[in-house]
């Protein structure tokens, strides 16, 4: 079973539009949306949700005011400045609390509860292009990396049960926690970039990450004709970093039109569909 992950470093380079198009070309792969804090793939694939699961992860400290004697030890020990005091009344700011439990353990009055946090939801759905595993991180919630790992695990289970040989993963931007959780152990990464100074800079960092985790990477420059010289420079840099060049996609306003019609680019007559087809062939070569 293969697992291909689409990432970008820089956000907004076209990961989701390209992931949806590749899903169309793949012929019913398992589709997996790992951009859990700003997931968009469902807007194109319109999934029918079959299963909905709560995602609980980590804990959050809560002081019981009636049992607190105002000693302030919790505040002294908290490294995340999450304990606030108002006239010897202490409370935990849930947004700053990292759930380390140090205050809970050392409170002499044992006045701090430590309930599990509800961080979001994940779903198993059916779409016109194949089964899909996706998620929604709660508002201002933490643990996106763990939610990504959960989504990938469930996608793998689904692929094994139903005999799918490809999992297509729409990944998050950046190079931090959710990206690391999306790429570790994947068979291949496709990096979508754009021919801009930012695109080049961010690509170099994301290829540093795939090298660090020893994952084969292929690079695609989207909207390449915005700056052909930069496209050349990016492809050169990609090769030097040990990545393959999967192809170029032209700038095409019909990509937005497809999104508005809730279609993948390949389900419309957008000209750049041909470019995506040639990238698909490259990935399968």
């Amino acid at each position: 079973m293969k697992e291909w992950v689409i990432i970008s470093g820089k956000g907004g380079t076209g990961k989701t539009s390209i992931a949806a198009s590749l899903a169309f070309l793949a012929g019913r792969p398992v589709i997996c949306d790992c951009d859990v804090d700003a997931a968009d793939l469902h807007l194109v694939l319109e999934p029918d949700v079959l299963e909905e699961h709560e995602f609980r992860s980590g804990h959050e400290a809560v002081i019981r005011p009636d049992d607190c004697n105002g000693c302030g030890i919790c505040q002294d020990l908290c490294r995340f400045k999450a304990i606030h005091e108002e006239g010897r009344i202490f409370s935990v700011d849930p947004v700053s609390c990292e759930g380390c439990g140090v205050c809970v353990h050392f409170c002499p009055q044992k006045a701090i509860d430590f309930p599990e946090s509800l961080c979001g939801k994940w779903f198993i759905s059916e779409t016109r292009l194949g089964p899909m595993v996706h998620a929604r991180l709660g508002v201002a919630a933490e643990n996106s990396g763990k939610l990504v790992s959960t989504v990938r695990q469930e996608a793998r289970k689904l692929a094994e049960q139903n005999g799918h040989d490809l999992i297509l993963v729409d990944g998050p931007p950046g190079i931090g926690c959710p990206v690391i959780a999306s790429v570790t152990g994947a068979s291949q990464v496709l990096v979508i970039t754009e021919p801009t100074v930012s695109g080049k800079h961010d690509l170099e960092r994301v290829l540093g990450l795939t090298r660090h985790f020893q994952i084969p990477a292929a690079v695609c420059v989207n909207k390449w004709d915005i700056n052909p010289e930069m496209t050349e420079a990016i492809e050169q840099a990609a090769k030097e970093a040990g990545a393959a060049v999967a192809g170029r996609i032209r700038y095409d306003r019909d990509v937005t039109r497809a999104q508005i019609e809730k279609k993948t680019v390949l389900e419309t007559n957008a000209a750049c569909g041909l470019d995506i087809l040639s990238i698909w062939k490259h990935l399968n070569a």
């Binding site: 804090d37 380390c100 931090g176 800079h201 508005i260």
Partner: protein
């Protein structure tokens, strides 16, 4: 005045807005690049006098001669960063949040804390802009502590613009917290609107004043305007979809330098922001 610039969706123009706004300011301003995973603001400014500070997190080190294998360290650790198998514990530095719980709880005091580098904060000057950039080391997962270090490097009582990472989770929250106003940048597409609604939920949850900036106006439809009208959210600026802006951006040139006709957009935005904060 502390402004933050955020967006649910990536690539909508956070850095474009932050850097052009800083460039057009009539006074000295700090531009703090909090997108520490992929910082880009420095690519658009000619910076000099770069000063670099290493940022670290304290991680545990176990003195095996003192450790009696009691396992309390692994019991208090919520992040599986220190694990015991009946013997001296193993430390997984990449999982550690640096809370210090293991060192505090260890009865024979066998655990000491040592800094583990997670990235750098770079401070440089570009004419009247002081640029403060956070740069996470490749392979490091935790962005929020580095974002907090960037924010701590901003001198008090200066006007500052905080360029946040994309998304709506902990790194974004670390960037926008304690700012006076959040500018949410979006684009007029279904993805843009969907991720804007998530970002609006986030800033409302944090109880921060905010307004919307629509970029590439004309490339999609008017769904952002319809949403903002219904939700009574002010649209502070609309930046037109102009291929010349994209081409200048691709070369690392700011819109207000390449296309002076757009300067007034950002001058007006400063006025609007000042009015709405007074």
């Amino acid at each position: 005045m502390r402004l933050s610039v955020a967006s649910g969706k990536g690539g909508t123009g956070k850095t474009t807005l932050s850097a052009n706004l800083a460039r057009i300011a009539q006074h000295t301003v700090v531009l703090a690049d909090c997108d520490v995973e992929e910082p880009n603001a420095h690519l658009f400014l000619k910076t000099s006098d770069i000063e670099e500070k290493v940022v670290s997190l304290p991680i545990p080190k176990v003195d095996e001669a003192l450790c009696d294998g009691c396992g309390l360290c692994s019991k208090i650790c919520q992040f599986s960063a220190i694990v015991t198998f009946g013997t001296a514990p193993l430390v997984f530095p990449e999982m550690c949040h640096g809370c210090g719980g293991c060192a505090l709880v260890c009865p024979p005091k066998a655990i000491t804390e040592h800094p583990r580098r997670i990235g750098v904060v770079e401070i440089s000057q570009a004419e009247s802009i002081t640029l403060i950039t956070g740069r996470l080391d490749v392979g490091v997962a935790q962005a929020p502590p580095l974002i907090r270090a960037v924010k701590e490097a901003v001198p008090p009582k200066t006007d500052a613009i905080f360029d946040a990472p994309p998304g709506t989770s902990c790194p974004v929250i670390a960037a926008v917290r304690d700012t006076d106003m959040v500018l949410l940048v979006t684009e007029p597409t279904p993805f843009g609107l969907h991720d804007l609604t998530l970002a609006v939920d986030m800033v409302r949850d944090l109880q921060l004043p905010f307004g919307v900036v629509v970029n590439r106006m004309g490339s999609g439809d008017r769904r952002i305007q319809a949403f903002c009208e219904k939700q009574q959210i002010p649209i502070l600026l609309e930046i037109p979809d102009d291929r010349r802006i994209a081409e200048a951006y691709s070369r690392g040139i700011l819109m207000v330098d390449a296309l002076p006709e757009y300067r007034s957009l950002f001058e007006d935005l400063w006025k609007t922001i000042r009015q709405s904060l007074n």
